[in-house]
């Protein structure tokens, strides 16, 4: 299944690996921070609702 990359295999594979790695890292960072902020916000909203009561 793997295509024959010939003598350029290293270059092609590292390009793909690096690019996909960078995008994956950015996506992971985005999701991680999103979850963190979302959780913190939910807690703060709960506190605020508590205070209003």
């Amino acid at each position: 299944m793997m295509p024959e990359l010939g003598k350029y295999a290293g270059v092609v594979l590292s390009s793909w690996g690096l690019s996909i790695g960078l995008i994956a890292a950015l996506l992971a960072l985005t999701l991680w921070r999103g979850r963190k902020i979302k959780r913190a916000l939910a807690e703060a909203e709960a506190r605020a609702a508590e205070a209003r009561r």
Binding site: G34, K38, R52
Partner: protein
């Protein structure tokens, strides 16, 4: 001379004062009181045009207000006369004599500001107000680091300014010995948005966010 209508102002994005209203006629002084953090400095900065009001209006020509805060804009390597002369030039004035005399700085005119005591620096900062030639003084705690004699001196300077048809808006806790109305800011503290206060862009929750469960 200065009219403030239904003014609301914010500090760091949070409303602190609302519905502030007062007028200042020529020859009149208004002293602002209130506990720390109520927003005296914020109000004065807003009146001076350094900050944008959250709501309401300030009716005064911007070229009539002279603002003095905790920092005086004094350059340590310049002499007293050079410091004053610069601000006089900026405001299109040339004579610094009366200001020097009024703040009792005559003996110090040629001394570099670096060698002034804190109180002397403060007096120099207040003398700056006089060389602006502007009628509305907006002063934030002007008597910090002044001794009793200097406070009295400053009180007389303000009184003279008022007698000359000027006016002053002062945040201070010290009695300056001048006739002034007092405005306590405590009743103007901004209410939370739930109780009718001004809501900023992020004061509303996001409600039931269907996709919130998703991402």
């Amino acid at each position: 001379m200065l009219r403030v209508i239904d003014l609301a102002c914010a500090r760091g994005g949070v409303p602190v004062l609302e519905s502030v209203a007062f007028t200042l006629a020529p020859g009149e002084a208004l002293v602002l009181r209130g506990p720390n953090g109520i927003g005296k400095t914020t109000l004065l900065r807003t009146v001076a045009g350094l900050q944008v009001p959250l709501a309401g209006r300030i009716e005064a020509k911007p070229d009539r207000i002279a603002y003095a805060a905790h920092a005086d804009g004094i350059k340590a390597t310049l002499s007293v006369a050079e410091n004053l002369g610069f601000w006089a030039a900026v405001h299109g004035q040339s004579d610094i004599g009366p200001a020097v005399a009024a703040m009792n700085l005559s003996a110090l005119v040629n001394r570099p500001a670096a060698n002034l005591s804190a109180g002397q620096k403060r007096r120099l900062g207040l003398a700056r107000l006089m060389v602006t030639g502007r009628p509305v003084w907006v002063l934030d705690e002007p008597t910090v680091s002044l001794d009793l004699a200097s406070v009295a001196l400053f009180g007389r300077a303000v009184a003279a300014h008022l007698a000359g048809g000027g006016s002053a808006l002062i945040a201070t806790h010290i009695d300056l010995g001048i006739e002034a109305r007092v405005l306590d800011l405590t009743p103007f503290r901004a209410r939370p948005p739930g109780q009718g206060g001004i809501a900023t862009a992020f004061d509303g929750g996001f409600g039931d966010d269907a996709a919130g469960a998703f991402l």
